[in-house]
Symmetry: C2
Subunit: 419 residues, 2 copies
């Protein structure tokens, strides 16, 4: 008798046949005696189709209206899934984000959950219903407006609900078998990870691993929600993400032995970024800060920034930023507008870059990891255009068309695969 | 400087190109200095497509979930229309039914509006925005659930909002040029009516004229809302429905003169009904009442009932009912279930019937109208299977395949056309 929150992505509910399969899985958990709350994304490509309609009508659709538009997608999949569960003879009760008490900031398109008051969810569970909650959407109390949570918002809805309901587990159903040491479509011998710490999962998500959205993992960590990534089709064991970081590592019989082996968990890669190089940035603590302020005011999220540190003191250097390709136009416009006050040289923009990251713990302090990292890439002829290191991650930028080779080289060099 | 509520049907917003044309019309009214509230139906066939998905998943989808599902359609068209207006440089603000304060009973799928508290609509108008309200949907305060108003619900939303806002006029845009003396696709010389009383319009709507839903006209009458039926494309004058019944009649130069001419306004027809004949109904006041109670409990709306009055006292007679074809299965099941207690003979069910109605005032009291009515049908070889009369209407049932001929014969006999 547990309380389980289950989340199904758009591809799991893309047509009525798949919705029926989701319903069967939900009903099976209910028949095992569990209380079940279900969060579904919009069906298949619904969100993209609605965005396409919006773009036909307006080059820059107002974000408030965009949220009213997009939230219809989850209401549809939500109600349909409720019907499918009901048709199997199990009571089902659907709630929109606002009805489920998912309250957010007023920032349309990227609202943050401020509070979850799931009393209607609780009441319906107490009546014996499976409860469905539309993902990705919330409600701002001040403006009384409907909001959306941005990319991966349905994961965040599920995890936030699990936290508020003190659920035993939040199951995230995906079209992969779990979290792997690298993308198995690129690295055939990638290994599924049995369990992962929040910190490692967060770093992987931030580095491009698609399984979970970074914000949702942060939420899980903050509230200690155990997240179980499971395959939507099939019965594989998946991957458990929790606070128990011990025992982290590839699934397998032998325990991790070598120091390097235990330090490094996975290779992640990301093609969604673009590289913006600001050349001739005047030296001094104020300049870089001013530049980041301009970008922040323009709503640009800078992912990685690398400053060329090897330069004569007092001389201008280059600053390389990685930012979401979607924000590229806004970033260029903002910097050009403030060119005079920032006093930099040129801007170079390149969307065809990739980022490959090695994720683990104690990466910077462990001698030899960076060296082995660079040697592996060099042996495969991957040119590195920038490198950034942190305790839990080493990331480099390279040409997009070299990215898959880089992933394979690192995965092999750190012996992450099945052997 | 007027306050105008405009309602656009699904075919007027069926694609982005049409939504843009609606936006242009709205902006034009705004630029003329009017305050504008817009109610849109779901795009094109959205509602039918969503119903189809629901039927794939459940033979009898729960009505609460069906309402959650279907209301997504109007939210989509609503937000898209707001974007299109915004893109033309006019501020637009969309509201769902609950945000606009459209409160209803809890009867899912056929909720009745109990109250409209449009303070958010008013605030947005005061800020200078065009306000868009999703049609067809409302909110029940007790259950905190989303409801739908049933067929023609968007007309009702528009008229109820116009009443609550004390709007100067509620404009209903349709794909026809106004209300006609008969359907112009069937009767080529049908005349557009300049103005109509609520009572006549209500009778026409109840008799199958598609332009306005009967409930919305009832609402308009109750609150004295002037309704202007206008073509969505083109600039024709349309038809005004209001409490000023004088001057009612076909548009034209000459005032109506002959008594009969002024009494009869239009011919309406309806193919959506089915005929259910209950034979051998025992005589006595209680039996028929019990039968209607059984049908009402099964949720069947009986449109017309004709009891064969010519029969020996104390003997069984036939009762012919016309009901929506959609309710046919439910009606048959309910009557069969209560066969023993009701004690009737057989049931005969026929969906291929049509109803033709002559609409006007003082029809029953005016000698000769019924006679002329029957003569006209007889001369065209239309067999009448049942007849019902009221002060404002004479209706007969005939075979569906004779219906158009019946409409043309009556239209000609009462000289309703252009001459």
């Amino acid at each position: 008798m547990a309380l389980i929150v289950q989340k199904y992505g758009g591809s799991s509910v893309r047509d009525t046949e798949r919705i029926r399969r989701v319903a069967e899985r939900v009903v099976s958990a209910r028949q095992d005696g569990h209380d079940v709350v279900v969060v579904v994304s919009a069906m298949g490509d619904t969100t993209d189709e609605l965005l396409e309609l919006a773009r036909h009508l307006s080059p820059v659709p107002p974000s408030r209206e965009l949220d009213m538009l997009l939230t219809a997608g989850e209401r549809i999949s939500n109600a349909l899934t409720a019907m499918a569960i009901d048709a199997l003879g199990t009571a089902a009760y659907s709630l929109s984000g606002d009805q489920a008490g998912v309250f957010t900031t007023a920032a349309h398109g990227r609202a943050l959950i401020t509070e979850v008051s799931p009393h209607r969810v609780r009441q319906a569970l107490d009546r014996g219903s499976v409860v469905l909650v539309a993902g990705f959407q919330g409600f701002n109390r001040e403006t009384e407006d409907i909001t959306t949570l941005g990319r991966g918002g349905s994961d965040t809805t599920a995890i936030a609900l699990a936290a508020a309901l003190k659920a035993d587990v939040c199951e995230i159903y995906t079209d992969v078998d779990g979290v792997f040491t690298a993308d198995p479509r690129i690295v055939p011998d990638a290994r599924r990870l049995d369990r992962l710490s929040y910190e490692t999962m967060e770093e992987m998500a931030a580095s491009g691993a698609k399984v979970l959205a970074p914000r949702s993992v942060e939420f899980a960590r903050r509230y200690g929600v155990t997240v179980h990534v499971r395959p939507a089709h099939g019965t594989g064991p998946g991957t458990v993400v929790s606070g128990e970081g011990r025992g982290e590592g590839p699934s397998g019989d032998q325990p991790p032995s070598a120091e390097t082996r235990s330090a490094v968990t996975a290779v992640a890669h990301d093609l969604s970024g673009a590289e913006l190089t600001v050349s001739g940035v005047p030296d001094g603590p104020g300049t870089t800060a001013a530049l980041f302020r301009v970008l922040a005011d323009a709503g640009v999220d800078v992912d990685t920034a690398v400053q060329q540190t090897v330069r004569p003191p007092g001389r201008c250097g280059d600053l390389t930023l990685v930012l979401p390709e979607l924000d590229g136009a806004a970033a260029l416009a903002a910097l050009r507008e403030h060119h005079a006050e920032l006093g930099f040289g040129d801007l170079r923009y390149d969307a065809s870059i990739g980022k490959v990251s090695l994720i683990g713990t104690g990466m910077r302090s462990r001698a030899g990891v960076i060296a082995r990292f660079c040697e592996a890439l060099s042996a495969t002829d991957v040119n590195i255009t920038a490198i950034s290191t942190a305790e839990s991650r080493i990331s480099v930028l390279c040409r997009a068309d070299r990215l898959h080779d880089a992933v394979r080289a690192l995965h092999a060099a750190f012996r992450l695969g099945t052997e």
